[in-house]
Symmetry: C2
Subunit: 298 residues, 2 copies
């Protein structure tokens, strides 16, 4: 596999596409914001005016757009990629869209002789830049094997989660459930410490290495203490979307997710307070400003 | 400081008292269950028939009973320790009782010329046995200094959280907030994985080192996967109590804790399903059995 297309060159997509260039793949790139293609064409990619144009001659197309609607549009919209790809080409959906839209896409793509692998990622921009992402893939074993070098260029941990397209999404949702709850819990805990009259920084230092510890208490907890909400390293609105996907997939199974529900409502409140485009660690301010009957009294 | 009293020789108290014996302290011990004193007297402690008897000749008394009522009873009940201690003796409350009962105790004890340090612990039985607990102390700096060798015999990390009796409790509540939410989140996530048709063990393996990681996902997550709910290493009912204390202290400050509320209700449901005396990792079964409109369909 030598020639690829890449659609969606946002904060995560751009460094992922660069990793593919570094690994020696030929790359046609498209983004709805034309300015986003520039850093990639400077690095050796071929700019395209549409997903279809990017997909010409590509053996596989990687999609890293915002959501299921944009994925659908890039594939089947006007000048969509699906019509331009060679039969038997691979479509790799790396956005977090949930398992249901993937199953739907899988049906449509297989009708056109195209093969779908879903492969959402975890790790954030810094790890994307180092080609150090966790990639959770779902789809036939053979297709996974074919695409492994492509995924391996972007991620240091590439896991085949199951044989069905959508299995990667399901694992990603479990991941997001924990991430979303843990970030909100860090916010609740640090704002609570302040409300109890404690110094949140000392409390964080005391408890972070023990049973209360989490990746998020360490990572987002530090940004909360430093109040580093801008520029966003991961926008709060991503969790409005992802916790919504977690709850949707749960509801389809009749499975109750009370912690995810509570966390989702907190992210929604944060977004409605105007924090959606800022860092998700800004959820702290929902506890400080938006939630209680009054400001903490201490 | 050479002679101490110790009241409350349960799963945590017994190994803590043994650590004091190992460190060379003289120890008078009492427990409402007489059989609990035996392993300690075998190890060199002096058994007592009441808290008052244990407290005779003691320069400090350590209390590791279940809750605030038992603490009050051990100090001020019939044959309570407060009347037997020498003036200026120290009272060290190591149970998790919340900051409010400590402030109340502090008033009563200082009227009798006794000094109070609150010093709740985190770490569980295994770390208690190694003298490896995290101890969060609140009280005057000088008293903390005097008691440091006592605390240092039981804990490897001994933190002075603030000058007021109760400050240790407040930090402990922040710790318990995170622990309680993280355990419940691990249960929600692993049961959700199963409901989505995934293998929870593979999912755990895939995500545990990344952004979703927590001490509890590792520790309790593994017990959930192995379904090791008996014997309890930390009983679920402890979180019924502790998340209740978290919420009480929050309510006093008009501070909202939606995640703790959701977690507390899950522990209460677990207890009402009969899992209260089993390991807290059994919260998993609340998601599997107690919560959803129906069993997972996958």
């Amino acid at each position: 596999m030598k020639n690829l297309a890449f659609v969606g060159l946002g904060a995560m997509g751009a460094p992922m596409a660069k990793s593919l260039l570094r690994a020696g793949f030929g790359l046609g790139v498209f983004d709805v914001r034309e300015a986003n293609t520039r850093p990639l064409t400077d690095a050796g990619a071929t700019g395209a005016g549409s997903p279809a144009e990017a997909a010409e001659n590509a053996e596989a197309i990687v999609l890293m757009v915002v959501n299921a609607d944009q994925t659908e549009e890039a594939l089947f919209g006007e000048n969509g990629a699906a019509g331009a790809l060679a039969p038997d080409a691979a479509v790799v959906v790396m956005s977090t869209v949930g398992p249901e839209p993937i199953r739907h896409l899988d049906g449509r793509l297989s009708e056109q002789g195209l093969r779908l692998l879903d492969a959402p990622v975890s790790g954030g921009v810094a790890r994307a830049e180092r080609g150090d992402l966790l990639i959770m893939a779902g789809g036939p074993e053979e297709l996974f094997g074919t695409l492994r070098p492509v995924l391996g260029a972007m991620g240091s941990t590439v896991v085949h989660c199951g044989p069905a397209a959508g299995d990667g999404q399901s694992v990603k949702l479990v991941n997001q459930l924990l991430c979303g709850v843990h970030i909100a819990a860090a916010g609740e805990a640090l704002a609570y410490a302040e409300a109890l009259g404690l110094d949140p920084r000392s409390v964080h230092e005391t408890i972070r290495h023990g049973a209360a510890g989490s990746f998020m208490l360490e990572d987002r907890g530090r940004r909360m203490l430093d109040r580093e909400f801008l520029p966003p390293r991961s926008a709060l609105d991503i969790f409005v979307k992802d916790m919504g996907l977690v709850r949707e997939a749960a509801a389809e199974r009749g499975f109750a997710t009370p912690l995810s529900d509570a966390a989702h409502e907190l992210y929604e409140t944060g977004s409605s307070l105007g924090f959606g485009g800022e860092d998700d660690s800004g959820i702290l301010r929902v506890f400080e400003e938006g939630m209680g009957p009054g400001k903490p009294t201490s």
